[in-house]
Symmetry: C2
Subunit: 219 residues, 2 copies
DNA sequence: AATAAACGTGTAACATATACACTATTTATG
DNA sequence: CATAAATAGTGTATATGTTACACGTTTATT
């Protein structure tokens, strides 16, 4: 019986939700895409193992992964009994991927264009996507993907990409004001021939539930 | 590296939330209480394993357990590396416990009076309790503990015991009406010198999320 | 000076949540 | 058989939260 970890790592680019996959260079499922991950070592915590595997396979490092669910069906790995603990993260597009090599190839995929995957990884991604959409509405997970300072429009576009629906600008801002999780910097962000936007930052950049108000985001 | 499953099984009796524990008769932690559970067999799914262990150790059977979280800290078991997948259930008080023997002793404990526990089982219970209070407010998990037919007052008392706060009778009933998950039977429940109550049953007894309306229960 | 582009702001209508108290129906008892 | 005791069942007014919606502001460009 072997124990593995897998990482479902999401990002957003060009207004589309993306997922990080690697191309398998070994049996089984050689040539198929899969979630980054691998076996947990004997004296290694799960949270450590998933970061190690992710970094080894994709180059992505220094991120927080949240445990999602454990997959343990008897037939899920043709090599024998493998239980996998899946983790979830939402990270900035700025992370550099390890250059493709003979041994490894990490790539971002549009969430709507995921190729055929190894093992039960499609199921894991489906579960992760549901969870991500819940997290974005009830936690400040967006602090993991937004830059230190950002505009409210950037933040709204992030929400829209993940939820795949338009939000109302005034309602989005009113809700954020009530939640009181952001603070203004006194700096402006300029990126074109138009009025500059105020930059904001999180009051507290720790990724945690937004306590008092269960904030379910709006139409 | 060994894989285990543990079951956090809640019930309610006498208006108090209870949890099912066993007294350990082997090392390590001999004599301490612990969650029912044990090692997963080579060709056994996780969901099957947890039911098997629970039935072996406590006599409780034919219940649905929902996966909660996996615990894999390196030092959590003094015997060596053991990863445990924890499961959660809420069951009727009617379940018969296996008679205590030299080898086993299963007992219900008031949630406020849990003894010192083996392993990291206190942490698991803390997590499970948070999850249970979320489940009762967003799923129809209560169908697992209520009898086939029940009164609205019984149901409200169940919610009050789990949430440890009083709910308003009229608001509770109004909310249930809106959720439309129950149907009236045409039967009355009589248990004393007072007006009999209508018996209700779940429209659909499958344990699942209550979709449209996120029903967060009221003050 | 005019144009183009994104920024930033408030209010009214509607829906949901909360607080709150009395009448109805039954059995037991004097 | 009248009354008491116990729980069932029911509605409304207020407060809070959600949704829909449009225009003046600020900047760079030509």
């Amino acid at each position: 019986m072997k124990l593995a970890v897998d990482a479902v790592v999401f990002s957003v680019n060009d207004a589309r939700l993306r997922i990080l996959l690697i191309k398998r260079k070994n049996q089984p499922f050689i040539g198929r895409y899969a979630l980054p991950g691998g076996f947990v070592e004997q004296d290694e915590g799960l949270d450590i193992a998933v970061i190690r595997e992710l970094t080894e396979e994709t180059g992505v490092k220094d991120i927080f992964l949240k445990q999602l669910k454990t997959y343990g069906d008897v037939g899920r790995d043709p090599r024998g009994r493998v239980i996998s603990v899946a983790y979830l993260a939402l990270i900035s597009w700025e992370h550099k991927l390890k250059a493709s090599s003979d041994a490894l190839r990490a790539e971002w995929f549009d969430i709507g264009k995921i190729p055929s995957l190894a093992f039960d990884h499609k199921t894991i991604i489906d579960d992760a996507l549901v969870q991500l959409r819940l997290e974005i509405q009830t936690t400040n997970i967006s602090c993991q993907i937004l830059p230190q300072k950002f505009t409210l429009t950037q933040m709204q576009h992030l929400y829209e990409s993940i939820l795949e629906r338009k939000l109302d600008k005034r309602n989005f801002r009113k809700k954020l004001r009530e939640l009181d999780i952001l603070k203004e910097t006194r700096e402006a962000f300029m990126d074109g021939a138009h009025r500059p936007a105020m930059l904001y930052e999180f009051r507290n950049k720790a990724y945690s539930d937004i306590k008092d108000k269960v904030h379910v985001m709006l139409k």
